[in-house]
């Protein structure tokens, strides 16, 4: 039951630094969704499904309101993946795939809109007392994502002998790719290895350049059936497989899961490769969610691209660079250097690689992977193919 759906439309707003958008979260969403629907050769009345996700730190647009405000048809399918944030971008596309494959909707919009002038990420909440998992973290200064991911990465790097330069390779690839992307917030701001190592620490082992942007903006895509995709104006990106998951105890609080330290993500890779019928070496280009470079480091090993102990060598020597490194990643600049639309903009880039439209196009792309998470479980992945499976 896979390969029955495809992405046929992409849309994006302009990406802004946080708080700099002249447009609200609703206006940004409308801009991206209108562009995606037009790109798909459809009209708003053709849309009958909507998938997005929110966090408690977000402007929340209700699906019913948005569908009526934008003039969708009968909203036959509306869903949000749950438990987290940037780990959900590929899961959102997977939900749209499931809805189309099962016949619950014909044309599903997946979107994410962020306006951090309205609500700001990356900070602890200003409260007198904190509850739930935060009760065990915030009072000890472990209040924001950089710090919890840093603790995970410190242990992982210690146990597997991963050096700081391995993290640098991930950041340098994203910044190099952003220099060819006029949409990227870091366009015109190249990064050298010396600048990387000299930059200030945020939370060790993360330097400034290991950390994602915070951004305002929206992106969207349209998922339809592979049959209807044959008539679409753009070359379809067929959803060859999508897989979500985590180690079974990955949702325990306070680093008490048995897979610590890891991305808690190995089962996702196993399922992805089994469903898709391919192996890591078959992948032509990949977009890895990097809220922090350490997340990408763990995802690469958890998904089986190399063993954890091989990361220093695997990430070196230009392997991550387009067009002809062995595994070009984050070819639009990624969360680090393009923009942070909670990782959904990485999925748009994975589709562009299939359509042969990336500013850092990898030649002859057949399989284009997008990876969301890990770090915060459950993680998700979606694999696009140029040929209909």
């Amino acid at each position: 039951m896979h390969g029955r759906a495809a992405v046929v439309g992409l849309g994006e707003s302009t990406y802004y630094r946080p708080g700099r958008s002249p447009h609200s979260a609703l206006q940004l969403a409308a801009t991206a969704i209108r562009a995606a629907v037009a790109d798909a050769g459809l009209v708003m009345a053709d849309i009958d499904g909507l998938v997005t996700w929110h966090t408690p730190l977000d402007t929340s647009l209700r699906s019913a309101n948005l569908a009526s405000w934008l003039g969708f048809g009968n909203l036959r399918f509306a869903a949000n993946p749950t438990s987290g944030g940037g780990n959900l971008s590929a899961a959102a596309v997977g939900l749209a795939d499931a809805a189309v494959t099962a016949g619950y909707a014909n044309n599903v919009v997946v979107y994410r809109s962020l306006n951090q002038g309205e609500k700001r990420y990356g900070r602890s909440l200003d409260e007198e007392v904190v509850s739930d998992e935060n009760a065990y973290r915030t009072p000890f200064g472990l209040g924001a994502p950089a710090a919890f991911n840093a603790v995970l990465s410190t242990k992982y790097m210690h146990d597997h002998g991963v050096r700081q330069d391995a993290l640098a390779e991930i950041a340098l690839a994203s910044y190099a790719h952003a220099q060819n992307n006029p949409r990227a917030i870091m366009y015109g701001k190249p990064l050298t290895r010396e600048q990387y190592h000299a930059s200030r620490w945020i939370a060790e082992p993360f330097h400034l350049y290991d950390c994602c942007q915070e951004s305002d903006g929206a992106c969207a895509m349209v998922v339809t059936s592979s049959e209807r995709a044959a008539d679409a104006p753009q070359h379809p990106a067929f959803i060859q497989a999508s897989a979500n998951g985590m180690v079974p105890d990955g949702g325990l609080w306070g680093f008490n899961d048995g897979a610590f330290p890891s991305g808690r993500y190995r089962p996702v890779g196993e399922e992805l490769w089994q469903r898709a019928g391919v192996r890591p070496t078959d992948i032509d280009v990949a977009q890895f969610y990097e809220n922090f470079t350490g997340t990408t480091m763990m995802a690469i090993a958890d998904l089986g691209f190399c063993e954890p102990g091989e990361l220093n060598d695997f990430l070196a020597d230009g392997r991550l660079r387009a067009p002809d490194g062995g595994l070009p990643i984050n070819t639009s600049g990624g969360n680090l250097a393009e923009a942070y639309i909670h990782g959904l903009q990485l999925v748009n880039e994975a589709v562009r690689q299939v359509r042969n439209e990336s500013v850092n196009q990898v030649p002859h792309v057949e399989l284009s992977l997008s990876v969301a998470g890990p770090g915060t479980p459950p993680g998700s992945t979606v694999l696009f193919s140029r040929s209909r499976p």
Partner: protein, 144 residues
């Protein structure tokens, strides 16, 4: 061992509830143990993740352990931390019950740093008052 809180007092404290009261207010390592099946779990919950039980004891653990990971935070993400950076956060694996990991700060390390494998012993802040709940005592790890 009692000491000043390593981080500023304006930083939030835990909201005390029935399952975390022993851990956050007793001034000792007290770990949730299921009355039905004897499983140990931390952080505590209203539910035993092993047998589904709802009734618990809070048994004393050993106050020593080993730093299994850490970070040094340089960028403040809370207004109360603006003058506290750089500071450390450590994850300590307790000697007893084995395998339990608890988050805290290491007091009195060299230049606020920490190391994986470092042996530490638990100390506690002097009680921190917040309106409407029992005074909280937070873990402060000290090098052995």
């Amino acid at each position: 061992m009692k000491s000043q809180r390593y981080l500023p007092d304006a930083l939030p404290v835990p909201e005390v509830n029935d399952v975390n009261r022993a851990f956050f207010t007793s001034g000792e390592i007290r770990i949730q143990t299921c009355q039905a099946c004897g499983s140990v779990q931390h952080p505590p919950l209203e539910l035993c993740c092993t047998c589904g039980g709802f009734a618990f004891d809070y048994i004393a653990g050993q106050s020593s352990g080993t730093v299994c990971s850490y970070t040094i935070v340089h960028h403040p993400t809370h207004s109360a931390l603006a003058d506290a950076v750089p500071y450390n956060v450590v994850i300590v694996e307790l000697d007893q019950p084995p395998g339990v990991r608890v988050i805290g700060n290491l007091v009195g390390g060299i230049e606020n740093r920490a190391e994986i494998g470092q042996r530490v012993v638990a100390g506690w802040t002097t009680p921190i008052e917040r309106e409407g709940q029992a005074p909280v005592q937070l873990l402060q790890w000290h090098p052995i």
